[in-house]
Symmetry: C2
Subunit: 278 residues, 2 copies
């Protein structure tokens, strides 16, 4: 069985891409009214440039059951047409074990995601049900990209040599990685923290959202986030790619350009640091 | 507009009940195969004894789209037949603001829950989109009922007079309660921590899960969790009530008995401390 970290490296190398594209369908921004048709157009135009799609569950849930039916079609479409690209269910789920088991079953068995994001607030027994799916990836939310994340994540823990909560989480992630399926989420808006996390977690994959509309620092993030052996990094952009144009006749091409540009920008940085794919 | 804390007190008094019943439909345990029929039977037999139902989203999601269709029917059924009882969507959602806005829309507009549980890991701007629904309740997960919750929640924060993360969260909740719609979730398995939280949050409502199968301490929890003016407390049991019997012909009555007994046990404690409804 291929470990998730290896699958990620494989697709990154074969696509020469560390790009993840967030699918955040928003009725106020979509140039097409139909969620599936919108996502399909984005996917068809960007697939060649991306290693992963990251459907954001909240955006689909806000459409009600129809949104979730669209998500089902989106996942089927990707798997049928572009079977190598990873699909990451971004849902930040996490609850006591009995409930997390159900969320894990929903995410990995019903939706059949290759990887998920999870919320670690209630500790290991709330994450373990996800980790039991040993061929899937489990990205633990460690340092969020939003301004107020500091309110909990940056608190300094007494008796820990002045480490912050997000560093403690990174420690936990290392200790929980018995099956090679643990990753972390660290926002591109905090490249210094990303560097700290990378130093703690060694080769664990890191998913870095916040590029584009959230103004995360791409160059600093790539330099800070790269693993030493594998690349171990996915740089995720949502709005900056999928809403690159609001023109119903042109948004697919605009998304293609935006995802191509993101891949090239990342790959130029990789070249600068001697880590290019070629 | 009635504030959530007042709605909660109103229903508690009119039902003479601080009971919340968790709806956790589990195919391995349900005496009936159909999710809606199972929940309907539970509801019809227990409604008179309970102030709230707490559908647990993970359990419905694990059935796929069919489970969510059943949830829709369950909510419609409660609203059509027992319009005064509160419905709390237990989903522990929380993400950066743009995504939390979508989750809030899903929980309050699509599902039309009276209240939700949320995850505070990424700070205020991740909770604010829920708080904007000023007539609904937002229960912030503060101290979880599971064994590993201590891994983050009990870490002592440097420079805080040795307070733990869950105490910091309780502080935040007080400061965020501008609209009278903030509550907290504290597990019945930690009555000492519940007392600490109650002392911090004054009159804010507290939802206390973990009674029954998780062996939370009922008497200690009620004594520790009561507000001083309003009762401000919901004691939630799931498995202990809905799976009180596995007999398809008898489980409704068994659930009625279990919920009646829980209400009576709580009300006896209230009487002991001079806080009975009568």
């Amino acid at each position: 069985m291929t470990k998730f970290a290896d699958s990620l490296q494989e697709i990154s190398v074969s696509k020469k891409s560390l790009v993840s594209i967030g699918l955040d369908p928003d009725p106020d921004k979509m140039p097409l009214p139909d969620v599936f048709e919108f996502c399909k157009r984005i996917i068809d135009h960007t697939e060649v440039f991306t290693a992963a799609y990251k459907p954001n569950m909240g955006f689909f849930e806000a459409f009600g059951l129809e949104g979730l039916k669209s998500l089902e079609k989106v996942i089927d479409y990707i798997k049928s047409n572009y079977s190598d690209v990873l699909i990451i269910g971004d849902a930040k789920r996490g609850d006591i074990a009995a409930t997390s088991s159900k969320y894990a079953s929903a995410m990995f068995e019903i939706w059949d995601f290759d990887a998920v994001t999870v919320n670690v607030f209630s500790g290991f027994d709330s994450i373990e049900p996800f980790l039991k799916y040993t061929d899937r990836g489990v990205f633990v939310w460690c340092k969020s990209s939003n301004p107020d994340g500091y309110q909990l994540q940056d608190l300094i823990v007494k008796g820990s040599e002045d480490r912050k909560i997000f560093q403690i989480i990174a420690d936990y992630c290392v200790s929980w990685n018995n099956e090679g399926n643990v990753g972390l989420v660290v926002g591109a808006t905090y490249p210094e923290e990303l560097k700290i996390v990378r130093d703690i977690v060694g080769e664990l994959p890191i998913l870095v959202p916040g590029i584009g509309s959230q103004s995360g620092d791409l160059e600093a993030s790539v330099r800070a986030g790269l693993g030493r052996i594998n690349h171990g990094l996915l740089v995720s952009s949502s709005r900056g790619i999928i809403y690159a144009s609001s023109d119903p006749n042109n948004f697919g091409l605009a998304a293609a350009n935006a995802s191509f540009n993101l891949r090239e920008s990342i790959n130029n940085i990789l070249e600068d640091v001697g880590r290019s794919f070629i």
